[in-house]
Subunit: 284 residues, 2 copies
């Protein structure tokens, strides 16, 4: 399925389209890149940090489209006003509020964004069983203008975890960028002991869906607790202290983490199952 | 003055050179960019965050030079081990530990880095009156391989504040990147009531040395307290709530901030005046 934002349609309409022909366009992008080739790109990109839960929110937009359509990946309820102010200042039209999974450590900003910016559609995986306006499955493409995100299923931290990867093509950002949620963190990974988690599944997900991407693919996780902002697939294959190991070693590591009960889980998960709207409604 | 790292010389030697002729090289860089043109670039770039003092440390290296010479801007003592581990994993040779100014909110990592990586040279402005291996002045260029930083004087937060700007040329990163220290923060600026601070000077510094750069120049500050990672000169000229105003308004804003006494200043400044070595020595 392709979700495409088009100038001629309202924000709520989508059309199923074949991939666009490759078009060479002048460079015009905010990007974090390890470029192995000279590639045209028109992506506006910002990484934003929420300090309390150490969550990264990502803003992506097509700078060359007349409406500058944009999406947010993993917005946090506390920082929605900051994010929307930035969207406005950069002259963007927010179309989608996307989650990589049902978070257990913070309340998603998706619901709050929808109350503040009419027309924005929330997106989550079908496998998450959470509520949202649109559900995506592996292989789907989410378009903003001519830029798209490819949907990859990376369960293991939760049942419904997705990794969103920027498109592959000459008018897409090079190198590719993987928004890995909690499946792959920089030199780490998400826990696997709640929400249908499985270390066995997580290992397979990362090795089959992320480590098969080009080594220069930029890894942008949902969290970082040590102050890293970006990594690459090649670096994580070499230096991730958990996922660079064989599967049995990985499973042993995950079984012996002895982590405490997630302090926000009983508030965050019920709220995030309804796209953050439970908390929002009680505030109204 | 040009500081140049060369394969044929030791890390401690420098030579005064004319600017290199422009050479077109294949793209190979970790960069955060708003590229208006297709430009070759070979910069390895990482932004790193120290959560307690909300400080950004920047790692830059020349990926095409055989030794991958690197520098760190504004390292923090607490995160030196993280930074040096990353330098090692990326296969870089750390040459310089650079400070934008004498920090009042954290102890610089420069001294500690020098004890851990022999040959690294600390750099600070001559105007800071602090100790370091090398002192730079406006107009100097600091080279790592073929990549250079241009030194600009931006006093006002402190007497000796510098902004380091990546080079201007086809084999330098495009757009340019300005490491503004505390002179210009994203939608803010450093306080001007200590360490020889002056709101009058800060206004002139930012307007004459930073706001005259191309509008797509990326602004990388020494701190961010709201979770922003990058801005542009154009954005700050429009949306900085202090520095987009006229000078008298700016001075009034700065005079009426009513900030509390900087809690780390009595520890950090004496230590940073000797490049962080005071604390290091007492630890030995």
């Amino acid at each position: 399925m392709f979700f495409r934002f088009s100038t001629s349609s309202s924000f709520s309409s989508f059309s199923i389209l074949l991939p666009k022909p490759h078009i060479f366009l002048p460079f015009k992008s905010y990007t974090t890149s390890f470029s192995a080739q000279i590639m045209p790109c028109k992506l506006i990109f910002r990484q934003l940090f929420e300090k309390e839960s150490s969550t990264y929110t990502y803003l992506l937009a097509d700078s060359l489209h007349p409406d500058k359509p944009a999406l947010l990946i993993d917005p946090v309820d506390r920082t929605v006003d900051r994010d929307l102010a930035l969207v406005k200042e950069l002259g963007l039209k927010l179309i989608y509020a996307i989650n990589t999974h049902v978070h257990a450590d913070h309340v998603t900003g998706s619901g709050l964004i929808k109350t503040k910016v009419p027309g924005v559609k929330s997106i989550i995986s079908k496998a998450s069983n959470a509520k949202a306006d649109l559900f995506v499955e592996p292989g789907d493409k989410i378009y903003i203008g001519d830029i798209y995100l490819e949907v990859r299923a990376t369960p293991g931290h939760t049942l419904g975890c997705l990794t969103y990867v920027t498109g592959d093509g000459v008018n897409q950002h090079q190198p590719r960028m993987a928004f890995t949620g909690d499946a792959l963190l920089i030199r780490g990974c998400g826990r696997t002991d709640f929400q249908g988690g499985s270390s066995d599944k997580l290992y397979d997900s990362v090795h089959s869906q992320i480590f098969t991407l080009p080594k220069d693919t930029l890894v942008y996780p949902a969290h970082d607790y040590k102050g890293f902002t970006v990594s690459t697939v090649g670096e994580e294959m070499l230096y991730n202290p958990r996922l660079s190991k064989d599967k049995e070693t990985f499973k042993n590591i995950m079984q012996n983490l002895n982590l405490s009960y997630p302090k926000m889980i009983d508030i965050a998960v019920p709220s995030n199952m309804v796209c953050g709207l439970q908390e929002t409604k009680s505030d109204l």
